[in-house]
Symmetry: C2
Subunit: 202 residues, 2 copies
């Protein structure tokens, strides 16, 4: 009934070329914003878990020294022994912080969709920067992890994952999570751009 009344009133008014786009715009970002909030929460969860798994990867082992049978050394593997893994933890922590801020901003867009266009622009731009940060951190940690797993006979770098198995398992899990976060950020950036594109077409 209410909808019919509204149409009747509208037909009496002059053509409202200015009022139509905000209606369409108000309809679009609502669906988008909810998915956006959900994905940003997932990014936060993935980065937080990734950092926690990497930080808790410490492993202490009794290693026998080649050539000295019966002589053993207590050695420790920690993420902060490798600059690449330190960069990884720093990058993922910053991304986690960013995902909290953008989740709150995205929630504010759901509640008050007036500034949604500006938010979409900021989101799409900043997400690209964080795609770069998370991808480079994943690449760096992945390269070090691969040397740890397989070694490199040309450079004379021996593998360490046969000794520090728990450390390597943690690093691999952390890497998988950061790759997931990077893919989510790519999707988020694409989604923001696509929503801006849809706003033009509507």
């Amino acid at each position: 009934m209410a909808a019919t009344d509204k149409t009747a009133v509208d037909s009496e008014l002059p053509p409202k070329s200015e009022a139509a786009p905000p209606d369409a715009a108000a309809k679009c970002p609502f669906n988008y914003s909810l998915v956006d909030v959900a994905l940003r929460v997932l990014v936060f969860a993935a980065t937080l878990t990734s950092v926690v798994v990497m930080v808790t990867s410490k492993q202490t082992e009794l290693v026998s020294v080649p050539g000295f049978p019966g002589f053993r050394l207590t050695l420790q593997a920690k993420f902060n022994q490798s600059p690449a893994l330190v960069y990884f933890v720093a990058a993922l922590s910053v991304t986690g912080l960013y995902s909290i801020i953008t989740t709150l901003a995205s929630v504010s867009v759901v509640l008050k969709p007036v500034y949604s266009k500006s938010f979409l622009l900021v989101f799409a731009s900043l997400d690209v920067v964080f795609v770069g940060i998370v991808a480079s951190a994943t690449g760096a940690a992945g390269a070090v992890g691969y040397i740890g797993l397989k070694g490199n006979k040309h450079a004379g770098w021996t593998k360490i994952c046969d000794i520090y198995d728990k450390f390597c398992r943690h690093t691999a899990s952390s890497l998988a999570l950061s790759l997931f976060a990077a893919i989510l950020l790519v999707l988020l950036s694409m989604m923001s751009t696509f929503t801006l594109y849809k706003k033009i077409r509507h």
Copy 2:
């Protein structure tokens, strides 16, 4: 004077709410597209140079064996001895190919700006994916390069850049170029999104 005349003519015409957006849209992508073409050519140049510098980094050295004075081995350092550097070359090559295709597409937008909105959407989306690819390749090669430069005493990985100086110089130059390409891709993606945003406002 010209501006005053235009206002006088405009006031006599009926309000042209439909004609204004295409005018503004036709004006915007032209400036954008030229910068876009220039940046994409730069991305191509950076990735091509980076790949060439990395592929030509081969170095052969006579290395003395510790404990055997007078005994020397001929050893070679090549990019394909490290999986991370192979990934780097592959990723940068694909990005170079992508930059050729998008440069041609961007030139077609300059010549015929009808499909500029769809191109902007595709550019902004694909650029993000390539930001991820180039950033991860830079991170991976950077991590391996850092181990080569400084070593890692905790893992027992010795530095190799004191022997293979040319190889390391080439790797470092190649890395700098790929970082430059990644930053350009971030700018390109931001620019596409911003142009879409401007199209809504106009």
